[in-house]
Amino acid sequence: MPTPTRGFLGRRRERDPRLPPGQYDVGTDWPVLTAEPTPRIAPERWSITVDGEVESPTTWSWEQAHRLPPSEYRGDIHCVTTWSKFDTRFGGVSVDALLEAARPTAGARFVLATSSTGYTTNLPLADVTGGRAWLAWEFDGRPLTPEHGGPVRLLVPHLYFWKSAKWVSRLTLLTDDRPGFWEQNGYHDRGDPWRQQRYQGD
């Protein structure tokens, strides 16, 4: 254990068990953290493409994506800047539904998610399958706002939230891991909040 900081007691003596180490409960706020200006994307102009190591590269328009089986996430989200938000509710489709249509090859191991802004983030394929990742277009029953990634963002709530790419437009399956935007800039390739995988080397 590191040496205690002189005079620091910390505020919260009752730790909520839902809070990963080093995180705090942000309450009803939802901070916005992005590295670029917020793009305004009309839903009619949005599409999602799944390509790379797949048998059938596929693109869905807004309408086509909405015809996939709806899926919802209820639970917590965790940002690497140390806030966590409890009991969120997102609506959209499961990434599994997209992959079912595009059919990953046997060699597919990783995913690079790309946003319409050019933002990228990398994930192990196993982290976006098995009901653990969504394309989300609703928050609390309302359309996802542009600041929070609307019209559609990736949602991978068991990892730090920079993995949940805002304004997502492409999922490229890969045989080898390829670091994304923050990952090239010092952040962790996986980003598990329960292991505090914040920065490269954690």
Partner: protein, 222 residues
């Protein structure tokens, strides 16, 4: 902790003597981690204000009323204290020291730009930087004298300044500062960064040339 100053209300300027230090790039940040006697920890990121050539690392921390870490740094820390820090961190919100840059800050968003400005001064290349800063009042603007001496455009939202009435940063403020080949850096609270980023894009700056760093208690409930 080598030095603690409080030149601006509700904030603190910390000068740290960092062991085994790796030089930062202007714009990078450090993580400060506080540990309670029972092992409980709290950590936050703070931008570096000093230039890489400064023998000490200078952080400037705004005291948030409910800030678990910032209240400790602002109210408790004294020279001689040991503090656990990690850094430098971040490879995106960084000035390359050779390209023209437009720096747009709200409030304590000026901190990473101080590192850029001081670096530019050390290199004799302040001509590369154009700076616009917005604060509520001059008293609350961190490093106000240093920014003014560097020719920064200072906009105050709560008090008149010369012939300029109190008001927000506008497109007209930014137009004279925009030059070809610039990378624009925007740093401030969520709402400020959102507004300033949109202003630049509306003025025709390519969004790919705009780098944004947001901070603060919240970006609002949006």
């Amino acid at each position: 902790m080598a030095g603690v100053r409080r030149p601006v209300p509700r904030s603190v300027q910390l000068r740290l003597d960092v062991e085994d230090r790796v030089d930062h790039l202007p714009g990078q940040h450090y993580v400060v981690r506080l540990t309670a006697p029972d092992g409980y920890t709290a950590q936050r990121s703070y931008s570096v204000a000093s230039a890489p050539g400064d023998p000490l690392v200078e952080l400037f921390v705004e005291r948030l009323p409910d800030g678990e870490v910032s209240t400790h740094l602002a109210d408790v820390v004294e020279p001689g204290d040991q503090l656990e820090v990690r850094g430098p961190i971040g490879g995106w919100f960084v000035w390359d020291q050779v390209s023209p840059a437009l720096l747009v800050a709200g409030g304590s968003g000026v901190v990473p730009f101080l590192s850029m400005l001081r670096t530019a001064r050390a290199l004799g290349r302040t001509d590369l930087l154009r700076i616009a800063v917005s604060a509520r009042t001059r008293e609350e603007l961190p490093y106000a004298d240093e920014l003014e001496a560097a020719g920064a455009l200072v906009v105050l939202t709560r008090e008149a300044r010369g012939i300029r009435p109190a008001g927000r940063l506008t497109a007209a403020d930014l137009v004279p500062l925009i030059e070809p080949g610039q990378t624009a850096y925007v740093c401030g609270s969520g709402p400020f960064a959102e507004a300033a980023g949109q202003l630049l894009v509306e003025l025709g700056v390519d969004p790919a040339d705009v780098r944004v760093e947001r901070f603060g208690p919240s970006g609002g409930p949006a």
